[in-house]
C-alpha cells in the first residue's frame, strides 16, 4: 500500500548544505561560494525553455525523465494504454507548477531533523523541490552507473534503476531514494486515475482499464446487481466525449463484452 509505505520512509538524509549541493539547481537552498567553489562553470548557461514545449514546471530534460519513469510504472501493454497515453507527465507538471507543488497548504516551517519512520512527510521542501532535487540526483546516478541519463536507458535497465530506488539501494545524495520513489508512484497513480479535468487520465484510459464509471451520481438502478458485471462507460466531470462520438466507444477491460 502506497499510503502505508510513504510514511515509513525517511525523506531527508543528511543536510542540504555541503558538497552534494553542487549537483542541485540553485533554487534549493543557501550555498557558500569562495575558495575553490566558484559560482560559475565553464560552458554552462541557464538557457530559456523552448517556448514550444508544453512544460510548466519541468525543464525539457526533467520532463523527458519524468515521462520515462511514469511509462515504466504504468506501461502500455496488452491490458491497455499506460501512463504516457494518459498524459500522466503533463498532469504531474501542472500539479508541480501550482499550489500543490509549492506546498501552499502545508506547514513547511523548520527545523527539519531526522524523522522517525512514523512521522510522515518531512522533506525540507515541498513536492516541486523534491522532484527537482530527486530528478537531478537520479540523472547523476544514471550517468555514473550506466554512462547515460535515465531516459536514454533501455527498459529493463530503467526497471532495475527504479527497483533500486524502491528498495532504497540507489544513492540519491540528499534525497531519500525510496521516499522519492513512493512520491513519484503516488503522483503517477493520481495522474492515471484522476478525473480528466485535471489533465491526466486522458480519454479516461485509467478508468477504462479497471472499469470505473467515473463521475456519475446515481447508481440506484444497479444496486441489486447480485455480483453481475455492469456495462457502463465512464463519465468525466467535463462530460463524456462518447456522447458526441460514434457508437462503439464503450467500456473495455473488465466490462468487455459484458452486457
Amino acid at each position: 500500500m502506497l499510503q502505508r509505505r510513504i510514511g515509513k520512509r525517511v525523506f531527508l538524509r543528511g543536510c542540504l548544505l555541503g558538497a552534494t549541493a553542487l549537483v542541485m539547481p540553485s533554487v534549493l537552498g543557501a550555498r557558500e561560494y569562495g575558495g575553490t567553489n566558484m559560482p560559475w562553470a565553464a560552458g554552462v548557461a541557464n538557457l530559456p525553455h523552448d517556448a514550444m514545449h508544453a512544460a510548466r514546471f519541468f525543464t525539457p530534460e526533467e520532463y523527458e525523465m519524468a515521462d520515462a519513469i511514469t511509462a515504466r510504472l504504468i506501461p502500455d501493454d496488452d491490458t491497455g494504454p499506460g501512463a504516457q497515453a494518459a498524459g500522466v507527465v503533463d498532469f504531474i507538471d501542472r500539479q508541480l507548477a501550482g499550489f500543490y507543488g509549492r506546498g501552499q497548504r502545508w506547514y513547511m516551517q523548520g527545523p527539519f531533523p531526522e524523522p522517525l519512520e512514523t512521522q510522515g512527510y518531512q522533506a525540507p521542501y515541498p513536492p516541486a523541490g523534491l522532484w527537482r532535487a530527486g530528478l537531478a540526483a537520479l540523472d547523476q546516478h544514471c550517468h555514473q552507473a550506466h554512462g547515460q541519463g535515465f531516459a536514454a536507458l533501455d527498459g529493463p535497465t530503467q526497471d532495475d534503476v527504479l527497483k533500486g530506488m524502491e528498495k532504497g539501494e540507489v544513492d540519491l545524495n540528499t534525497t531519500d531514494a525510496a521516499s522519492f520513489f513512493d512520491f513519484i508512484r503516488e503522483m503517477t497513480i493520481e495522474g492515471f486515475f484522476c478525473d480528466p479535468v485535471h489533465g491526466g487520465n486522458r480519454d479516461m484510459v485509467g478508468w477504462h482499464l479497471i472499469g470505473f464509471p467515473g463521475a456519475r451520481y446515481d447508481y440506484r438502478d444497479f444496486l441489486h446487481h447480485n455480483g453481475a458485471a455492469i456495462d457502463m462507460p465512464p463519465v468525466s466531470l467535463m462530460g463524456r466525449p462518447a456522447w458526441n462520438a460514434q457508437q462503439g466507444q464503450r467500456g473495455t477491460g473488465n466490462r468487455k463484452g459484458a452486457r
Binding site: 502505508r4 524523522p115 508512484r185 446515481d218 444496486l223 455480483g227
Partner: protein, 586 residues
C-alpha cells in the same frame, strides 16, 4: 488596535455539528448567539453540487474540505523522549474547516455507544478485576439512560436509517441485539444492501453471529426532519467521506439544521474569524469573551456572557492550553488534566477478492454496511484475554474511488505490468471488512504544547504523544481473526489480512476519531469539564466535542458527540440560565 465589540449572550467558537446544535438550542431560548468560524461559508449548490462533488483528486488528495496544516497542525511522536515533528501533510486523520466542519465530509456512520461503554472502569473492574495501573480509563459522568433522549433527538434531526434491535427492552429480529434500549425506532428504514453485504450477512449468520444493517446518515428515502428541513434519497454515488454530498442525501449541519438557524433573528455567523484566546476575569472564575483575528489580520475582542468551544477536539484542547485554562497534563507526575487521556481508534481489516463475482464497489455510500457487534464493548466474555473493550466488524461498501482504492492480492508488485493486470482483475471484484476497535486511555498517550514548532502567529503547536498500547494489540489480535473467518466464508478466491501496525503511524489514513484532552468527569481532580460539559474552572465556559470522552469506544463518535451537545444545551437552558454558576458542586 483591537476592535472591541458589544457584548453578546453567547459566543460559539467553531461552527460544525456542535456549533449548529448549540446555536439552534440557545437561539430558541431567546439568547443572542454569535458563531465565529475560521473557515468560510459552504453550501451544497455552490461548493459541492453533484456536477463537482465526485472529484477525488480535488477534495481528498488536495484537501479541499480540510483544514490546511499551514493554518493549524500538530506535532507528533510515538513516545516521550522522541522529538515530535509537525504533521505537514494530513494522513492518519483529516480535520475539517469551514461552516459544517468535519460534519460536511464525514461518512455518516451513526452509532450509539453501548451502555457499558459509559462505565468503562466500574463495569470492567466489577466483572474482571482491577485494571492495569497505566490504564487511565474512567467512567463517563453521564449514563446511557440519561443520554438516550438526546441520541434519539439527533437521530431524528439526521433521519438516521436503521433497524432497532432493542426497542424499549424488546429485542427485535434483524437489529443489533446488543444495543442499548431505544425509545423509538430509527426514523428511516435501513439502506438497501448490495452484494458484499449479502455475502457478509450470510457468512456471519453461519458463524452464529448477529449481523445488522449499519445505522446510516445517508438517506434510504426522502425525509423531512422535525425542523422541517428536507433531505433527498441517497443515490449510492460512492462520494461521502472526504467529500460533501451534492445530493442533499447525507446528514450534515447544512442539510439538517443550518437552513433554520441562519434565519433566526437572534443569530449571527462571522466567517474567516480565527479565535486565538479565551479571555477570563481576574478572579479566574468566568470567561469574559474571546479574542479573534479576521482574514485581514485585524484583531477583535468579543465579550460574551457564555463562551462555548465548538471546534474540533484538537482545536478545543489547544485553545484551552493557549488560554491558560487549567493545568496541562504531565505524564511524569500525573498532574494536570488538560491534554490527558488522548485516545483514538484501533483499526485493522481484511480484503476479500472474488473470481467469478463482481462487487462493483463504486456503487456505495458512506454508511452502507452490515455490522456485527458480537465482539464489541463488553458483549463477550473477556476473562483471561488481557484486554477490555472491543470492536465492531463491518462490511462497508463506501466507494471504489480509484486513486484511493487499489486492491491487489498479497504478493503483487507495486508497479509495472503485473501490478496493472492485478488491479484490472480485482478492482471490481473486491470488498473489505473493517475491524473498528475501542481505544482505552493510557498514562503515556497525551497532548501538550510543543517546545519548538510555532503556528503562523508564533504560538506553540500542540504536541501529540501517542502509540498503540498492549490493550490495543490484544484487542486487535483477538478480533481481527474473527473478521478473517467471516471473510473466508464470503465465497471469494482469497483474502488478505491488514493487521494493526506495530506503531501508530501519522501517515496512512485511519480515522478522524481523535478523542480526549478535555475530558469530562466527576471532580476537577479527574477531568477538565463536569457532566454538563461545563469547565470546572470557568463556570460560563462549556466545551463540546469528542475531547470530552474519557476514552473512546469501538464506534464512530459523532452520535455521542451530538447527544452530549444536546445534553449540555439542555442543562444550560434548564439550569444554568436560571442560576449561572457551577452546575456540579464538589
Amino acid at each position: 488596535m483591537t476592535e472591541i465589540h458589544r457584548s453578546i449572550d453567547v459566543v460559539l467558537v467553531g461552527f460544525g455539528w456542535t456549533g449548529a446544535i448549540l446555536a439552534h438550542e440557545l437561539t430558541a431560548e431567546g439568547l443572542q448567539v454569535l458563531a465565529l468560524e475560521r473557515g468560510g461559508w459552504r453550501d451544497t449548490p455552490t461548493d459541492f453540487p453533484t456536477t463537482h462533488a465526485p472529484d477525488e483528486l480535488r477534495y481528498y488528495w488536495r484537501h479541499e474540505m480540510f483544514q490546511e496544516t499551514a493554518q493549524e497542525t500538530q506535532t507528533f511522536r510515538n513516545r516521550r523522549g522522541q522529538t515530535a515533528l509537525p504533521i505537514r501533510r494530513w494522513g492518519s486523520y483529516l480535520p475539517g474547516v469551514g461552516v459544517g466542519g468535519a460534519g460536511v465530509h464525514w461518512n455518516g456512520q451513526t452509532f450509539r455507544f453501548l451502555p457499558s461503554d459509559f462505565l468503562a472502569r466500574s463495569h470492567n473492574q466489577e466483572r474482571y478485576g482491577a485494571l492495569p495501573d497505566d490504564m487511565t480509563v474512567q467512567d463517563y459522568p453521564v449514563t446511557y439512560d440519561e443520554l438516550e433522549p438526546h441520541f434519539d433527538r439527533f437521530e431524528k434531526l439526521c433521519g438516521i436509517c436503521g433497524q432497532a434491535g432493542n426497542l424499549q427492552g424488546d429485542l427485535r429480529p434483524g437489529g443489533n441485539p446488543f444495543e442499548g434500549w431505544r425509545s423509538n425506532e430509527y426514523p428511516n428504514p435501513p439502506m438497501e444492501m448490495t452484494f458484499s453485504q449479502d455475502r457478509f450477512k450470510a457468512s456471519a449468520r453461519d458463524m452464529g453471529l448477529n449481523p445488522f444493517p449499519a445505522p446510516s446518515a445517508n438517506m434510504s428515502r426522502a425525509y423531512t426532519n422535525p425542523l422541517g428541513v428536507r433531505m433527498a434519497p441517497c443515490t449510492y454515488c460512492g462520494f461521502c467521506e472526504k467529500f460533501g454530498c451534492g445530493n442533499y442525501s447525507k446528514a450534515s449541519p447544512q442539510t439538517t439544521i443550518l437552513p433554520v438557524v441562519m434565519q433566526q433573528s437572534n443569530f449571527r455567523l462571522r466567517t474567516h474569524c480565527d479565535v486565538l484566546h479565551v479571555n477570563k476575569d481576574r478572579d479566574n472564575t468566568r470567561a469574559t469573551g474571546v479574542t479573534y483575528i479576521d482574514a485581514h489580520g485585524q484583531l477583535h475582542e468579543q465579550p460574551a456572557q457564555i463562551v462555548i468551544l465548538c471546534g474540533y477536539q484538537l482545536s478545543n484542547t489547544r485553545l484551552m492550553m493557549l488560554s491558560g485554562i487549567g493545568e496541562i497534563y504531565d505524564p511524569a507526575t500525573g498532574q494536570g488534566q488538560l491534554g490527558r487521556n488522548y485516545t483514538y481508534q484501533v483499526m485493522s481489516g481484511v480484503d476479500v477478492f472474488f473470481d467469478d463475482a463482481f462487487t462493483n464497489e463504486y456503487i456505495g455510500a458512506g454508511a452502507l454496511g452490515m455490522v456485527v457487534d458480537d465482539y464489541n464493548g463488553d458483549n463477550f466474555d473477556h476473562s483471561g484475554l488481557g484486554f477490555i473493550g472491543g470492536a465492531y466488524i463491518a462490511c462497508w461498501t463506501t466507494h471504489a474511488r480509484p486513486i484511493e482504492s487499489q486492491p491487489v492480492p498479497e504478493g503483487t508488485p507495486e508497479w509495472g505490468s503485473e501490478w496493472k493486470r492485478a488491479l484490472q482483475q480485482n478492482f471490481l471484484r473486491h470488498t473489505s471488512l473493517s475491524v473498528h476497535g475501542a481505544s482505552m486511555a493510557h498514562r503515556e498517550n497525551y497532548l501538550d504544547l510543543d517546545p519548538t514548532y510555532k503556528d503562523r502567529y508564533g504560538r506553540p503547536l500542540m504536541r501529540m504523544t501517542y502509540d498503540f498500547t498492549a490493550n490495543d494489540r490484544r484487542l486487535s489480535e483477538h478480533i481481527t481473526p474473527v473478521a478473517a473467518q467471516i471473510a473466508r466464508g464470503m465465497g471469494g478466491r482469497e483474502i488478505k489480512v491488514n493487521a494493526l501496525d506495530a506503531h501508530y503511524d501519522i501517515w496512512p489514513y485511519q480515522t478522524t476519531h481523535n478523542t480526549g484532552g478535555t475530558i469530562m468527569g466527576e471532580t476537577p481532580a479527574d477531568s477538565v469539564v463536569n457532566r454538563y460539559l461545563q469547565s470546572w474552572e470557568l463556570h460560563n465556559l462549556f466545551v463540546m466535542g469528542a475531547g470530552v470522552f474519557p476514552q473512546n469506544a469501538g464506534y464512530n463518535p459523532t452520535a455521542t458527540v451530538a447527544a452530549l451537545a444536546y445534553w449540555s444545551a439542555h442543562a444550560i437552558r434548564t439550569q444554568y440560565l436560571r442560576a449561572p454558576g457551577p452546575l456540579v458542586q464538589v
